[in-house]
Structure formats: structure tokens, C-alpha cells
């Protein structure tokens, strides 16, 4: 594939730092080389000597001197090498990408930073980006500042509709813009906010359309491990015969959100643009975070990792079940919803309201229930939306019951309010 056409003008001008070039000299040097080049601070002066963490179940992990050292010093921009290698093994195992030999993987400061830098790398203002509508709100936030041309594609219970995608792309191409449709963004598993999963056949259809219009696919998949039925749908990466997928993985739902660790897999010419931007900004992903996750995964092995995933799926499944129970009890006839097969969100439609924003933002807190208004996720946020997103990850079943009871009352009040105004 010709990747140069996808790179924004700004990104094409990024260059590696001179010092990283010099570091390549280290690869074949003699042991008597005196290295006076890099401005690394002396780690003898870092005050931390030893670190131990206790895992769930009581097991203790003590970081060796070398490992803690690595955790405290600058590291490579694309990630701590043992950790990268570990992640590569996992990706190869889970996805068997058809072009694995021509792929690479980098660690990012959370997967969202990877996405943000991918957009910076890809988009000139006149370019088109395809998004589902509704779409993850932070992604829309990124787009609102870059202000590219947005191709919004409505969804059904499986996500982006191929027929609408096709006609929207045709419209974009014939619009006379100097830009080109460059990329397509989606969250194929437990989509934020709709909670839906894109079926295998649908994925193949979308991939085929991406091929037809030569788009990069941005596969944002933070909920891939939170699937309740042990049914894992094949990723876009696993069907990527062309080398057009950039896949964004996250540890935020599985191991820790605060450590800020995600990773991106894809074609080296595209990862390069992200890596160079990382080099100029945060220099490298947080080393201690990488070291800890690496040690954890090593200590678990494949079996331990599978067990952990199974435990968290069990937990979130129970949360989902309690949520559906609360919905059925209090919101039958008032709202509609699709039962999510994974993740942490339910997307509710209020049957007799045209818009939920004012209700939630102005009256929700007083009514003791806060959900996110659907408008926040729509590409055109000026249009009314009868939807709301509820997260069931952190509330107890009792709170869910109370919350849905409050919501029913809130909606009822709102309907009355609307009718007195008409």
C-alpha cells in the first residue's frame, strides 16, 4: 500500500531526533566506547530503591533492581522492549494478523493518546474522516478542534450501516473538495455509547468498502476483553489483508486506567508518524507503568490472564444483569434499549421525549440521577436526541434500582413539563 498519501503535511515533516540516530551507533559498538551523547540524568540520584506490589489474591511481586531501574529512567519512544515483545506475542496469538511480518506495535500513553496522535498524523483540514453516528464523544471532541470534513454514518443494532457508508462516501468524493476520505473510525465491540457489537459479516462488508475507497481503518477496541458470552468476534486486524488497519488496544478496563498504558498495532509507516510525535512530546510512555504491567502479565502467564478476564467478565455481566433488571422494573413502556453483550454501557431511548439534554443537565442532579444526554454523542449536536447513556460499571444493584426509579420519575415530570408548554 502507498502510505504516503495518508500522511498529513505536518506529519510528513516530522523527523527523528539526532540523538536517537546516534543511539543506533550503540548497536555495533566496542565495549570501550565512551558515550557522552545522551542527556540522561544519573539514576543513582533517583531516591527509590525497591518496589513491591501485592496482587489480588495476596501474591507479591517484587521488582528486581534492573527492572525498577528501567521503570525509573527514560526508555524508547515506542515502548519498553520486553513489554512490547510480550504484547506482540499476545496480538499474534489473538488476531493472527495476515500481514503480521509487515506489522509493528507501539505502546502509547493510554490508547486515546494513540488515537489523538493518529488523527494528527492523518488529517489535513480538507480531508474526510468517517465516523459512526452516534460516536464516542471524546473522539468527536478531537475532531471539533482539528475541524476536518466529517462523514457521519448512521448505525443500527450492529453499528455502521454499509449502505449509508457507501452513499456517504460517494457524496464526499463528488463534493469537489481537495481533500480525500482518509480514515474510518469505529468501536466494533461494546461500542461507546450504544453498547452494540458489530457482527462478523458486517465487519467484512465494512472492510470491503474501506478497500474500495482506500481508507485506513481506525479500530478502537478498549472493550474487547469485556465480552460476556465467551464469543470473540474476529477483529479488523485479523482480516487485514491489505495492511490498512490501525488497531488501538487498551489496558484501562482490564488492568488499570490510571497507569495510562495502551498500544497500537499496524503498518510501520503509519506507526512511525505516531512514534515521532511521542518522541517530541512525552518522550516515552510511562516506564514504571509499563514495567508493572509487564511483570504482572509475566507472573500470570496466559492462564492467569485468561482467568482474570473471566473474573472481570463475570463481574460486569452481573452488573449488566442487575441493570437490565432495574430497567425492566422501572422503565418498561417509558424507554427502549438493546441488551448489551459486553462492555459497561446501556443506550436508552426515551419514548415520549424528543430531547433529553435539558432534563438531565438542568434537572437530573435534583432528581438524584445523572446520565449522559444522547446529544453529546451525535455528530450534529444541535439536533435533539431522545437518547441517554447509562454506565453500570461502578454502581451497586441497589443504586441501579434507585437510580432507575428516580429516572422514571424524572422522565414523567419532564413529559408533564413539555405538555404544559405545548
Amino acid at each position: 500500500m502507498d502510505y504516503s498519501k495518508f500522511i498529513s503535511k505536518l506529519s510528513s515533516r516530522r523527523k527523528p531526533s539526532c540523538i536517537s540516530e546516534l543511539r543506533r551507533a550503540l548497536d555495533n559498538c566496542s565495549p570501550s566506547l565512551v558515550w557522552l551523547a545522551s542527556g540522561m540524568p544519573n539514576p543513582e540520584k533517583f531516591p527509590f530503591r525497591e518496589m513491591t506490589v501485592t496482587l489480588e489474591g495476596g501474591k507479591k511481586l517484587t521488582l528486581s533492581k534492573e527492572t525498577l531501574s528501567a521503570g525509573l529512567q527514560y526508555g524508547p519512544s515506542h515502548g519498553y522492549l520486553p513489554f512490547r515483545n510480550q504484547l506482540k506475542r499476545m496480538v499474534e496469538q489473538w488476531h493472527a494478523p495476515p500481514r503480521w511480518a509487515e506489522s509493528d506495535l507501539i505502546v502509547t500513553v493510554g490508547n486515546q493518546d494513540g488515537i489523538s496522535k493518529a488523527l494528527d498524523m492523518l488529517l489535513d483540514p480538507e480531508d474526510f474522516i468517517v465516523v459512526p453516528d452516534p460516536c464516542y464523544s471524546d473522539f468527536l471532541c478531537m475532531l471539533s478542534s482539528l475541524a476536518p470534513q466529517i462523514v457521519a454514518v448512521s448505525v443500527d443494532d450492529q453499528g455502521m450501516r454499509p449502505d449509508i457508508l457507501q452513499s456517504a462516501l460517494e457524496k464526499a468524493i463528488s463534493s469537489g473538495s481537495t481533500g480525500i476520505p482518509k480514515a474510518l473510525y469505529l468501536v466494533p465491540n461494546s461500542c461507546n455509547p450504544t453498547g452494540t457489537n458489530m457482527g462478523e459479516e458486517r465487519r467484512q462488508e465494512i472492510y470491503a468498502i474501506a478497500q474500495q475507497y482506500d481508507l485506513i481503518i481506525l479500530e478502537d477496541d478498549p472493550y474487547c476483553f469485556l465480552q460476556f458470552n465467551d464469543k470473540y468476534l474476529p477483529s479488523f486486524l485479523s482480516m487485514d489483508v491489505d495492511g490498512r488497519v490501525l488497531r488501538f488496544d487498551s489496558f484501562s478496563k482490564v488492568v488499570s486506567s490510571g497507569l495510562r498504558i495502551g498500544f497500537v498495532t499496524g503498518p510501520p509507516p503509519l506507526l512511525q508518524g505516531i512514534t515521532l510525535h511521542m518522541q517530541a512530546s512525552c518522550i516515552c510512555p510511562p516506564m514504571l507503568s509499563q514495567v508493572l504491567i509487564h511483570e504482572l502479565l509475566t507472573s500470570w502467564g496466559d492462564e492467569g490472564f485468561k482467568k482474570h478476564i473471566s473474573d472481570i467478565c463475570q463481574f460486569y455481566k452481573e452488573q449488566r444483569d442487575a441493570m437490565i433488571q432495574a430497567l425492566k422494573t422501572h422503565l418498561t413502556g417509558i424507554c427502549e434499549w438493546i441488551v448489551p453483550e459486553g462492555g459497561i454501557f446501556v443506550w436508552l431511548k426515551v419514548l415520549h421525549l424528543s430531547d433529553t439534554s435539558a432534563m438531565l443537565l438542568e434537572r437530573g442532579a435534583k432528581g438524584d440521577i445523572v446520565l449522559v444526554p444522547g446529544r453529546e454523542f451525535m455528530v450534529d449536536s444541535t439536533k435533539p436526541s431522545p437518547y441517554m447513556r447509562a454506565a453500570y460499571s461502578c454502581v451497586t444493584p441497589e443504586e441501579m434500582m434507585k437510580g432507575m426509579e428516580n429516572l422514571a420519575k424524572l422522565i414523567q415530570k419532564e413529559i408533564e413539563l413539555q405538555s404544559t408548554h405545548t
Binding site: 484501562s252 488499570s256 486506567s257 463481574f315 442532579a365 446520565l371
Partner: protein
């Protein structure tokens, strides 16, 4: 000051994320509020429960389960609140910014990420950038894709020359450009202490002159100061920061823990006028979300354990170490390079900036032949705004190398130059 003048269109377009705003509702809500708006994962499912860090002085930082949750869960974009408070207190203590009430602070993933976001906030392709020259390579890397029109300001053993700055800006009349948005310089970058790569510091009178000129021409001053605590000499003799003299509220200051606590934790912080720090916060909100939480908690707990006394005792020890390293380096340089090189004595930090008067350009010598002489340093061209021009300088780092190796290195360097 009107700050919108300094912002790129992309930065002006940034809006707060509603969901993060909604989290603020929690602060004023009744305990009966059922909050289902945030998309947080459940922290009880995170596999780390507790931790313990032993320090080199033998004491321990305990991460009990509740604190571990703070390490592992999403946090606020400006930073872990206890750390933000500690850093604000430290900043106020060290710099007493004259317009402190109009300023704000954000913890960043290393100070360079703060600098990168500040520059991305203000620079559009082709914009002017006023900078010290030679300039830190990281800053040049951030700016390279924007193809800026550099106004490089030369310096001497006391850093940036105010006369050179005045001369560079003299093609504009201050009163004509104060409010102009396009085609005028608006940003000045400076490394005031133990500059990378020159190792020298700006004395107080020069800082005041530079501030005055920046004020006349309405420039934002980017004060990049990662070696603040590694200045040699008594802390009470440190020259005042640009932040401490910022009567206009035009300074954005970048602080770092990388040289004194840890570079790998990725913790730095930015202090500046509220409207500008807000833009950086909005950018962080849609990119990395916040600086790594565990790193922030560790730094916070460490500062709490040490208190001011312990903290300054540590920075004094770090400074003393680098002073010894510098002295050993100078000894080695004097022994082997006094006929071949010139240099100014570094007043802090970890770099020696060597001039080779007999050589036109050190680039080829180093990249093509240095390995054969078993010594590597950075050719000066890497620090120049215009990399097509030859440069007679080289930067040697003395942070990690032993005195024996410094001697060997300088000896090898002498052979290489000859």
C-alpha cells in the same frame, strides 16, 4: 492581557468534554445522587491491591489499598489533587509569582509534553519563533513540522544576549505589533538555567532586560527550566525565574522532576496564565487524559514524607553530585583538550559545550569517525535552528560517565580532532 491573540485556530476550537464537566456535578450533589454518567471501569477489578516502595534512605512509602485505587483509576486532567496542591505551594514558595491569582497549574507527562502542547497551542505553520540558539533538540523536534521562521538569538557565557534579542526584533515597531496576530513574533523560548546544550545560566539583570523586551513586543515567554534544582551554588543565590518577575502574566513555566526524582515516571508541571493553561488542559483531556496516576501519587507521597526540609536536602545532594561530575569533566578536558577546544564552565546541569576552533563543522567528524575513536558526543549542528549551516561545537554529557571514562573520552576526543 488578551490571550486569544496567541492561539491557533485548532486551539481556539477546543471545547470541554461534557462528560468531564458532568463529573463536577458530583462535587455539589446530594449523597443520594446516582451517578451513571462517567464511563469509569470498576477499580475493584484492577489486580494491584497494595504496594510498598523503599527509598534509598531506608524509609518506605506505603501504598495502602485506598491509595492504590488513586494510582490505578482515571483522575482529573489537571492532576492528582494532593500533588497539584503541593506543586502550587512549592511554586508559590520558590517564585512568588506577582499575579499568582490569575495563574493555574497542570501536571504533565514530563515537562516536554507540557512544552509540546504549549507550542502546539500557539504555533501555526510558518509562524515566527524567537529562540535561544543553540536550542534544545527536543524543542526543535516539536517545531520542525511547523517550518517556523526562526529568530535565533545568540548568546555568550551568560546566556542569551538581550542586545541580540533587541536587534532581531528591531524590524518591527513595538507599538505596531502589540496586538497584531499574523506575521509577527509572539513566542520566545528560553532555557534560563544550565541551558541545554551550553550549560550556562542567565544572570538576573539579563532576565529583566529580556522580560522587558518581551513585554514591549507582547511575546509569551516559554521558560523551560528542567535544571532549576541542579544549579550549582547556594539555593538562596539562584537568580529569580521569569515567573517570579511576571508582572504582565505572560510567562508559561515548565518544571520537571526528571533530573532529581525520576525521568521514567514521566512527571512534570506547567504554570501559567489561566486562559493558556486551560487550553493545554483541554488538549490533554482528549489525548492522554492525565499524567500517569501512580507516578503522581508516588511523587506526592514522597514529597509528603520528606517535607520541605527533606526535599531540599535531596536536591542539594543531587546538585553536589553533578558538581563533582562537572569538576571531573573539566579536569579531563583541561588535561587533553586545552589546545584543541574552548568552553565555558557550566553553572549547573550536565552538559559541556565544546568549541573546536580549528574545525569547520563537527558533524562529519562525529558521525563518520567518532566510533573508530571510541567516543560519541552530539555534534552542535543538532542544536541549530538552521541545520544546513556548519557548526564548530559539540555537546558532551557528564551525568552518567565515570571520571575514568571522562579521561578516556577526552583523550579519544583529542585524537579524533587531531
Amino acid at each position: 492581557m488578551k490571550y486569544s491573540r496567541f492561539l491557533t485556530q485548532v486551539s481556539r476550537n477546543r471545547q470541554p468534554s461534557l462528560i468531564r464537566e458532568m463529573t463536577n456535578l458530583l462535587a455539589q450533589a446530594s449523597p443520594e445522587l446516582v451517578f451513571m454518567a462517567g464511563g469509569l471501569p470498576n477499580a475493584q477489578m484492577f489486580p494491584f491491591q497494595a504496594g510498598s516502595i523503599t527509598l534509598k534512605d531506608g524509609r518506605a512509602l506505603t501504598i495502602h489499598p485506598k491509595l492504590m485505587m488513586d494510582c490505578l483509576q482515571y483522575g482529573p486532567t489537571p492532576g492528582y489533587p494532593p500533588l497539584v496542591k503541593q506543586l502550587k505551594d512549592l511554586t508559590q514558595q520558590l517564585h512568588s509569582p506577582p499575579r499568582w491569582a490569575e495563574m493555574d497549574l497542570i501536571v504533565t507527562a514530563g515537562s516536554q509534553d507540557g512544552l509540546c502542547k504549549a507550542l502546539e497551542m500557539m504555533i501555526s505553520p510558518g509562524d515566527y519563533v524567537v529562540t535561544q540558539e543553540p536550542c534544545y533538540t527536543g524543542t526543535l523536534s516539536i517545531l520542525k513540522p511547523y517550518k517556523p521562521r526562526y529568530l535565533p538569538i545568540s548568546g555568550d557565557q551568560n546566556g542569551m544576549c538581550p542586545e541580540a534579542l533587541k536587534a532581531a526584533l528591531s524590524k518591527w515597531k513595538p507599538e505596531e505589533v502589540q496586538d497584531t496576530e499574523k506575521d509577527v513574533p509572539k513566542v520566545l523560548y528560553v532555557n534560563p538555567n544550565a541551558c541545554n546544550p551550553t550549560g550556562v545560566s542567565l544572570p538576573e539583570d539579563r532576565r529583566q532586560e529580556i522580560y522587558k523586551i518581551a513585554s514591549e513586543y507582547n511575546l509569551i515567554i516559554l521558560e523551560d527550566d528542567p535544571y532549576y534544582f541542579v544549579q550549582f551554588g547556594d539555593r538562596k543565590d539562584f537568580p529569580p525565574s521569569f515567573l517570579s518577575m511576571d508582572v504582565d502574566c505572560r510567562v508559561i513555566r515548565f518544571d520537571s522532576f526528571s533530573k532529581i526524582l525520576s525521568s521514567g515516571l514521566r512527571i512534570g508541571y506547567v504554570t501559567g496564565p489561566k486562559p493558556l493553561v486551560e487550553r493545554i488542559v483541554l488538549h490533554a483531556q482528549v489525548s492522554l487524559l492525565h499524567a500517569p496516576a501512580m507516578s503522581q501519587v508516588l511523587v506526592s507521597e514522597l514529597l509528603k514524607l520528606w517535607g520541605d526540609e527533606g526535599f531540599f536536602k535531596h536536591t542539594d545532594a543531587v546538585q553536589a553530585f553533578y558538581l563533582d561530575q562537572r569538576n571531573a569533566m573539566l579536569e579531563a578536558a583541561e588535561k587533553h583538550l586545552s589546545d584543541l577546544c574552548e568552553w565555558a564552565v557550566p553553572t549547573g546541569g550536565m552538559f559541556l559545550w565544546l568549541k573546536v576552533p580549528k574545525i569547520h563543522d563537527t558533524w562529519d567528524m562525529i558521525l563518520e569517525r567518532a566510533l573508530t575513536k571510541n567516543v560519541i558526543l552530539v555534534p552542535g549542528k543538532a542544536f541549530m535552528c538552521d541545520s544546513s549551516k556548519p557548526c564548530q561545537y559539540m555537546r558532551a554529557a557528564f551525568s552518567i560517565v565515570s571520571p575514568e571514562n571522562m579521561d578516556k573520552g577526552c583523550k579519544n576526543l583529542a585524537e579524533l580532532i587531531s
